[in-house]
Structures are given as structure tokens and as C-alpha cells.
Amino acid sequence: MRTLFSFLFRLRATFLFLLLEFIAFWLIVQHNHYQGLRYFNSANYLVASTLEVSNKLEAYFYLKEVNKRLAEENRRLHQALVVAKRKNREEVRRVKDPILVKKYKFMLAEVVNKTTLKANNYITVEKGRKQGVFPGMGVISPEGVVGKVTESSTHYARVMSVLHRDIRISAQLKSNGYVGYIDWNGKDARFVKMKDVPTPVAVKKGDSIIASGYNAFFPQGTTIGTVAKVEKLPDATFHDITVKLATDFNSLTYVYIIGNNLKQEKDSLESKK
């Protein structure tokens, strides 16, 4: 008996190793599904504020580029505003419910951390529960879609980017309205695939891909990207479409978080039997 105990005692490091390794793999599996673990990610206050300092230093290098982009966006919005104002005057008179007019609410948020080269990428932004950011909200950049909020703490939120295996964004071909979904293969941050488009549907290089009305997180028509390559594999029933993302994830500094005032209503209606 004593030899057995001394044998086990000599192997104590191995047992501890196996136990801790088991915990590590349990954490890997549970990471995205278990609420209690959210303190160990980048939405944690201590981690996020450290990343913020690091990112503020880096942001100086992109100031010029960001300025140029914001100015360009301003120009585009001014132009759109003139058209929208005219249209709105007629439409507001017809739609009586004010909540339908203000279906989406936009919030500007600064990016404090991001990754683009991993198999599953996240972005951390500096807006949290206090400012009304909750899981399930959509996130876009001036150029196009970015992702959706998966966690939010008091001052920060973690965004699952389009460059994540588990994200499913319902997308639409702008030219003919055909709906598929967006999928990322884990390699290049500039490109994604559009799935579920059958071969009889005509797709051309350069076609615009937009968000469809089926997602609750993005307004219909938000740009996703343009078709970069269409391949027809032999015997395949679906096109192999490569989409160039409109958003440049590498220089992403500011994003808009979109709150959908009607999301709850849509979800509760859809969950009814």
C-alpha cells in the first residue's frame, strides 16, 4: 500500500499537468458558450483599458488615413442627406408610427483592439452597457459591415468580426436580389465566400453584395463587398463566389454600432410556434 502511495506521490506533477490541461481544453470548448467566462476576455475592464493605451499609441500612425476616409464619408452623407430629406417629407406623412421611421439607432465607437490574422477574429470597442450596447447588435464601418456584438461590459464591448468561423450573415446580390450567406475560410482578411447561390443565378465579377433584410443586426442594403471571382466547379450546384470585403480590417479605427429598435419584436414573433 505504501509503495502505491509513494508511486502516486512521485507522479503528482503528471497528475497536476493532466488536470490543468483538462481545464484548459474545457475552457477552449466552453469559451463562447458559457457566460461566467466572459471576465477573461478583452471586454474585461483591466484588459480593455491596457489594450486601449497600446492602441492609442498605434492610432497615431493611421490618423491621416482615417481623416481622409471620414472626410470622404462626410461628403457621401451630405449628398445622401439632400436626397433623403426630399424623399422623407413624403414618406413621413404616410408612415404614422414614429418607431418605424427611427428603426435603427447608430452609435459611434472607437476600436481599442482587433485581430485579423487568427482563425476566429474579434474586435474590442470602447462603448458598453452604460451607453446601451448589448449582445446581438450589428457593427459597421464607414465602408461596410464589420460584425456583431457578442459580449458587453460596463464600458467595453467585444465584437465577433466577419472574419470569424461562427458568424452567419445573410447576404444578397444587389443586381438580382438573390439571397445567400457569408462564410470565412480563416485565411485572408480581405476576402470572404458567399454560399448558397445556385448555378443558374447569373453572377458577374464586380457585382455588389449587400446585407439582406433577413438579419436583424444590419439595415438592409448595408454594403458587404464586391464579387472578386466566380468559379463554376464541375458538378456543383452552387457557385463558388469570392467576395472582396468593403471594410479594410487592418486600418479599422472607428465603427458604428447599430441598435435595432424592433429586433426584440421580430425575435419574439419568430420564436412563437
Binding site: 506533477a13 490541461e21 481544453f25 475552457l27 477573461f40 467585444r158 468561423r165
Partner: protein, 174 residues
């Protein structure tokens, strides 16, 4: 427990973590070579450190790095394996070399010599990086892609770890 004292070790720990989070995290070459200099801390722990202590330190290091990388569990798993095989690798290498085993107190370029230390570091860094990139990729389809990242990242990390070794080379106590 070990000859190096707890205070310099704590300082080293904080130093490596800060360097990793502020600088090494951004140092990515050609979208392929990543830099995980913080493993230098685990590599440089005292030669006679208790194995239980090594495992606990590795777990803590992995947990902190994972929080910053948003990869809960992956760095923990890699650091644990590194800490577990470390004593075997060190002993095997030292026994085969002409270094006097009884005089060794720390695992460093100074006491092992640069070529022996480089062999030791390359082996352990390769194991550590393999775990990180293969778990992260998650599928066998990205095998070649991940292997490329593992190899180039190992080279990159190794260079930084050795540079750190030479930068903080203190005169030998007799």
C-alpha cells in the same frame, strides 16, 4: 524553492507580459511570423524549479496572455505542455553535453552556452507554437497553412528570446 529569489522573477514576469501585450502582439511579419516572446519567461525559470511550481506559473502566464488575445484556453494549454516537458528536455540536453550539471542554477545562454540554449529553446518554442496554431486553426484542412505559421513564428520568437537573453546578461556570480 529556487536560487533566483522571488522578486527578480516577479519583475521578469511583469516585464515579459508588458512587452508581449504592448509590442510583441503587434509584431507580425508577412502575416505569417508571429512573436510570442513571453515564452522566454517560462524558458528562463530556474533550473531546479519545482515541477508543480512550473506548472502553476505556466497556467497563470497562459491565462493572462489568453485574456489579451481573446483565445481563452489555447495559450494555457500550450504553456502547460511547455512547462511539463521542460525538465525532460533540459536534463536530456545537459547530460549529453559537457556542461557540469551540478554547477547549473539557471537555464540561460550564460550557463548553458548559446548553442545548447538555442537547441533547448527551439525545441520548446516549436512545441508551444504547434499547440497554439493547430488548436486555433481547428481543422485539418489548414494543416500546411498552420505549419508554415508554426515554423516561421518559431524562428521569429527564438530570435527575440535570444536577444532578450543577451540584453539582460548580468555578470556571473561566483
Amino acid at each position: 524553492m529556487n536560487q533566483q529569489g522571488i522578486f527578480p522573477q516577479l519583475l521578469g514576469f511583469i516585464g515579459y507580459i508588458v512587452f508581449q501585450v504592448f509590442f510583441a502582439r503587434k509584431m507580425i511579419l508577412f502575416e505569417t511570423a508571429f512573436c510570442f516572446t513571453y515564452v522566454g519567461f517560462l524558458l528562463g525559470l530556474p533550473y531546479r524549479a519545482n515541477r508543480i511550481y512550473l506548472l502553476l506559473i505556466a497556467f497563470l502566464t497562459g491565462l493572462i496572455i489568453d485574456a489579451f488575445y481573446d483565445t481563452l484556453g489555447i495559450h494555457i494549454a500550450a504553456c502547460l505542455l511547455l512547462a511539463y516537458v521542460r525538465p525532460f528536455v533540459v536534463n536530456t540536453l545537459v547530460v549529453r553535453s559537457n556542461v557540469n550539471r551540478d554547477l547549473i542554477t539557471e537555464v540561460s545562454v550564460r550557463e548553458l552556452g548559446s548553442s545548447l540554449f538555442a537547441t533547448y529553446a527551439t525545441l520548446l518554442i516549436f512545441i508551444h507554437h504547434s499547440i497554439i496554431f493547430f488548436i486555433e486553426a481547428g481543422t485539418i484542412q489548414l494543416l500546411a497553412f498552420s505549419l508554415k505559421r508554426v515554423i516561421f513564428s518559431t524562428i521569429f520568437t527564438l530570435i527575440t528570446v535570444i536577444i532578450v537573453q543577451y540584453l539582460f546578461l548580468t555578470p556571473k556570480r561566483r
